[in-house]
């Protein structure tokens, strides 16, 4: 944690001191995130933060992105989970450097965990870092990691109201992947309506319909990320 910024120290009646501080604890994370970003940029790498609910298909989408891009970029992947290295191994079999970040009990990655994971990488050897956040549509929005772009993956199997119920994470997104579109019909979910919900909440987000199993839409995701 960064040092506290002290503004005023003044004595109050009797022996009580009133110490005024102006340290924002969430800003402390933002500062670390900016350090991460600077470190990555100095080494010629850019980072993408991939967020989304549990089971939305983040890992499958990352696997497809890795397959598509690994011959064009030197990719590393950070895989955030509470525990296990199951997903990290799924990704590593595509031959890219993968670091599992196990948060233990925390429901999101934070800039400090990413900073520690960055120390495990030889940054000179990579130019794209994909960071899969812990499955959660709430807390990750609050903790920037130092990425250049943020992606939110939302699948049709989460139902028709997932986007409007979590407006704040979609406000953070540069790209939104509406995933598992092959299941839209059996689920009775209208992909166009989900797309409209994203655009209503965050007009500057690029929305892409994807199928993480077949790879449909993955090229469009890469393009929207400037890759």
């Amino acid at each position: 944690m960064a040092a506290l910024k002290k503004v005023v120290v003044k004595a109050e009646e009797g022996e009580i001191y009133d110490i005024e501080l102006a340290e924002d604890l969430l800003k402390a994370n933002q500062r670390l995130a900016e350090e991460n970003k600077r470190l990555l940029h100095e080494n010629g790498a850019k980072a993408i933060d991939i967020m989304g609910a549990i089971g939305s298909g983040k890992t499958s989408l990352i696997e497809k992105l890795v397959q598509l891009l690994k011959n064009h970029y030197r990719i590393a992947v950070f895989k955030g989970d509470l525990t296990t290295t199951i997903d990290a191994e799924l990704i590593a079999r595509h031959g890219v450097e993968t670091v599992a970040i196990n948060t233990g009990k925390e429901c999101h990655l934070d800039a400090n965990l990413v900073k520690k994971a960055l120390q495990k990488l030889n940054l000179k050897r990579i130019n794209v870092l994909l960071i899969e956040n812990v499955g959660n549509l709430i807390c990750p929005a609050e903790f920037p990691l130092g990425s250049d772009k943020r992606v939110v993956v939302v699948s049709v199997t989460e139902g028709p109201y997932m986007i409007v119920k979590h407006p704040f994470i979609f406000m953070e997104a540069d790209v939104v992947a509406i995933n598992k579109i092959d299941l839209a019909e059996p689920m009775g979910v209208d992909v166009k309506k989900l797309e409209k919900d994203v655009k209503t909440i965050n007009p500057r987000a690029t929305v892409v319909a994807t199928n993480g199993r077949t790879g449909e839409g993955v090229e469009a995701v890469a393009k929207a990320l400037g890759l």
């Binding site: 340290e23 604890l25 709430i138 929005a141």
Partner: protein, 123 residues
Amino acid sequence: MHEFSITSQIVQNVLAEAEKRGAKKITEVHLVIGKLTFLGLDQVRFTYEVITKGTIAEGSKLVIEEQEGFVKCSNCGYQGGFKYEDDPLYHVPVPTLKCPKCSSTVSIAAGKECTIRNIKMLV
């Protein structure tokens, strides 16, 4: 969800500040928490009580001021509350990043704070 870790950091910073000044007891801690954070105030209060137990901050008063969220438009200069989309399908109005005045995309200017404003302590 992350009230525990945030509150732990708050208490850690408060105790560090008290130690620097050789305080015997912390009597009050004032926080500012933005309404756009995902911090539940009841959970913050509860975890504060638990975490301060056995420290010099045990039993101290925790005062939380809430900060409203507002947005800024770089196109027309609007500064204020969100534009809400009121679609009957949504049941409740949904906040959007559209400027209420000119419909450009706005950015969030306040409401994400989580600040220790001041601490009162006995030295």
